[in-house]
């Protein structure tokens, strides 16, 4: 066990995976000598050389498009998009190429690749650096989407992502890169993609969150527990595939659910979760599923971002609201 923050855990994992398999290579902007703008790839070029740690020209579509070609031909590319907001540049290569190639070729080809990208607000970045865009990819069948919230989860899930035979989008909450340190198993391990983590068991209300939003959600849970609520907290960890079973089991037990995410409300992952509960556990719930989310606007300027991001206060309020709305 070693104490690591999330960025160190990611750096450690990349190194470990590259040592394990020489077909793993990483590519992206400023990931070489500079070690990535967040230092996620720090030192890797010294260890593995420029053939496996590739500083590319500034072209996202090319980074993802070439990774698709590499992946189909037997390499294991781990591509970095410097900030998630820049991923739109490569939307065709991800949604229309990487995600579809298996389907389109009736299983003859597949693209086992990982795309890493930092996202999340609360760190006063310039425009387009903070957006949470996971719903776009949930809507693009053929790609998996992972969003860890702890250093250990980041490690186990990144190893699993690199081993996965499908394209995986691995989204890293910038806000949590250095926010917490914990003991992380050094030895290689994987966490199953698609398995949510029940962080805390409780009987009154199920709170579901993931990635960056876990920080405020955890604070809210503490506050609510102090106020006498028994909260079951679920960290989804993976958006696609979605761990429906854990969600449904929990909601059947608590009969109430609030989803917290940083992305905008409309057509967000929260809407999907709400629909699933509606379909599979309607007669077990005693209140509508509520969502605490970003507002339906582009991610805003720094002076108002803290009001935009779901705060502990908003989460607490919605949980109390659900409680009041309950039929039983």
């Amino acid at each position: 066990m070693t104490e690591m923050n999330m960025i160190e855990a990611i750096n450690f994992t990349l190194k470990q995976e590259m040592e394990k398999d020489e077909n793993v290579l990483i590519l992206g902007e400023d990931i070489g000598r500079n070690g990535g703008v967040f230092r996620a790839t720090d030192g890797l070029v010294d260890t593995f050389g420029e053939r496996r740690v590739v500083d590319t020209p500034l072209a996202e579509s090319a980074i993802i498009g070439t990774a698709v070609g590499m992946a189909v031909r037997g390499l294991k590319p781990v591509a970095e998009i410097q900030f998630l907001g820049f991923i739109y540049e490569s939307m065709d290569q991800i949604a229309a190429q990487a995600a579809r190639i298996r389907f389109r070729s009736a299983g003859n080809y597949h693209a086992p690749m990982v795309i890493r990208a930092p996202y999340s607000g609360g760190v006063k970045t310039p425009e387009l650096h903070s957006d949470s865009l996971e719903a776009l990819f949930m809507h693009s069948a053929g790609i998996k989407v992972i969003m860890p919230s702890t250093p250990s989860d980041a490690k186990g899930l990144l190893s699993a992502a690199i081993a996965d035979p499908d394209p995986v989008l691995f989204l890293e909450p910038m806000k949590l890169y250095r926010a917490l340190r914990e003991n992380v198993e050094e030895e290689r391990f994987t966490i199953e993609i698609g398995e949510a983590n029940v962080v805390m068991e409780g009987s009154d209300i199920t709170l579901i969150s993931w990635g960056a939003a876990m920080a405020e959600t955890k604070k809210a849970v503490q506050m609510l527990e102090e106020n006498g609520y028994s909260i079951e907290l679920i960290d989804l960890r993976t958006i696609v595939p979605l761990d429906e079973e854990t969600i449904i089991d929990s909601v059947m037990k608590t009969s109430r659910c609030v989803v917290v995410h940083e992305a905008v409300k409309s057509a967000g992952v929260g809407a999907e979760i709400s629909a699933i509960i509606n379909e599979k556990a309607l007669f077990y719930i005693s209140a509508p599923v509520l969502r605490v989310t970003g507002y339906d606007s582009p991610y805003p300027v720094a002076t108002v971002e803290n009001e935009w991001i779901p705060s502990m206060d908003r989460i607490v309020r919605e949980v109390k609201h659900v409680w009041e709305l309950s039929l039983d």
């Binding site: 400023d30 000598r33 703008v37 310039p126 409309s266 507002y295 339906d296 606007s297 908003r314």
Partner: protein
């Protein structure tokens, strides 16, 4: 000749004012304009130094320094007319000042104010964060001007890194096919964050890329405000006739990429020193002094007045009350959707509006 080898193209930068401040070419710039250009460059640099300092003190957010690129920015913007449009990246404070942007706007932008940044009246598009995206906007704007035959040109400012983006290539192709009144002004400052020019492209120059699109290209010493100005003037008249131009201004980003970047990770002080000798302001001042247009006393007066202006600008920005989230949400659509109205009400009622 059937095979086109890359080295058949010989591109040499235009220079008119050399590193020692000696005019080696000709210029049409009047004495009054010569001084104006100088003052804009000095203002850009002082602003830059101050912005970096304020960021370090935590008084503004992330800032992208322009030091070293004053001649490229001021020389090019100064050659434009009021009716022209510019499409900047995040590093173009110098060019924007020439177009009328107040330093306080830039401070506000860096502080994350809703109303920070630049204005429509200045005919400047909002600061672009997505590398290269503005190249297509400039083509579209030029298209509109061509359609309206109003004689204006559009200028997109990009870095060398942006020339790797698909948008850039699509923009050049459209500009040329449709003969648009547009100028692509690439500040080749040698670096795209940590990636040096030679790893960005294998072309010997960016200017030569124009050839593939059937348009005119030129490389200019970007630290020479005189050559940049003259080149831009000429490009402007070509563009007006429907001959788009690609300009590569060779310059150097003397500072870090942004205030959160540490260049010692990827470049050496020694390599930078050769460029320091090409400082655009130093040579320009030498030239003015040689022409008896400038003195140490005037320099001090200028510095003092800029100092005062920038201090006031910062205070103005610092005293500006921040807009509320509710106001920000009112700018998503012309009329808020029902869902947004609901969210604004929810936000107002939430007690967080205090």
């Amino acid at each position: 000749m059937n095979w086109i080898e890359p080295n058949i193209i010989d591109v040499n930068p235009l220079q008119q004012l050399n590193e020692q401040g000696i005019l080696t070419g000709e210029t049409s710039i009047s004495d009054e304009e010569k001084l104006e250009i100088y003052k804009w460059m000095v203002k850009a640099r002082r602003f830059d130094e101050l912005a970096v300092k304020f960021q370090r003190q935590g008084r503004i957010g992330t800032y992208a320094p322009l030091i070293g690129q004053e001649a490229a920015q001021v020389g090019s913007a100064f050659a434009l007319e009021k009716k022209d449009w510019i499409f900047p990246s995040y590093r173009e404070a110098g060019a924007c000042f020439v177009r009328g942007t107040k330093p306080s706007s830039f401070f506000k932008y860096a502080m994350g104010h809703l109303h920070g940044g630049i204005l429509k009246e200045e005919r400047i598009f909002p600061v672009q964060i997505i590398i290269g995206a503005q190249t297509l906007h400039a083509a579209g704007s030029a298209w509109a001007d061509q359609y309206k035959t109003n004689g204006a040109v559009s200028v997109a400012y990009v870095g060398d890194g942006a020339t790797s983006q698909g948008d850039f290539h699509e923009a050049l192709n459209f500009a040329s096919v449709f003969q648009l009144p547009v100028i692509y002004f690439v500040q080749n400052n040698q670096w795209a964050i940590s990636v040096p020019y030679h790893k960005q492209t294998n072309s010997q120059s960016i200017a030569q890329k124009a050839l593939a699109y059937g348009m005119t290209g030129v490389q200019v010493d970007g630290n020479d405000a005189v050559a940049v100005y003259e080149t831009m003037k000429q490009a402007r008249s070509l563009a007006r006739e429907g001959k788009p131009v690609l300009i590569e201004a060779l310059t150097h980003r003397m500072g870090p990429h942004t205030t959160s970047d540490d260049p010692s990770k990827y470049r050496s002080r020694e390599a930078d020193e050769a460029w320091d000798k090409k400082d655009p302001i130093f040579r320009y001042r030498k030239w003015l002094e040689g022409l008896q247009l400038w003195s140490e006393e005037e320099e001090q007066d200028l510095n003092a007045s800029i100092e005062e202006e920038l201090k006031q600008a910062f205070n103005e920005a610092a005293e500006t009350t921040t807009a509320s989230l509710g106001e920000a949400l009112g700018h998503v659509y012309e009329k808020p959707t029902n869902r947004l109205k609901e969210q604004i009400l929810e936000w107002e009622g939430s007690g967080e509006s205090k």
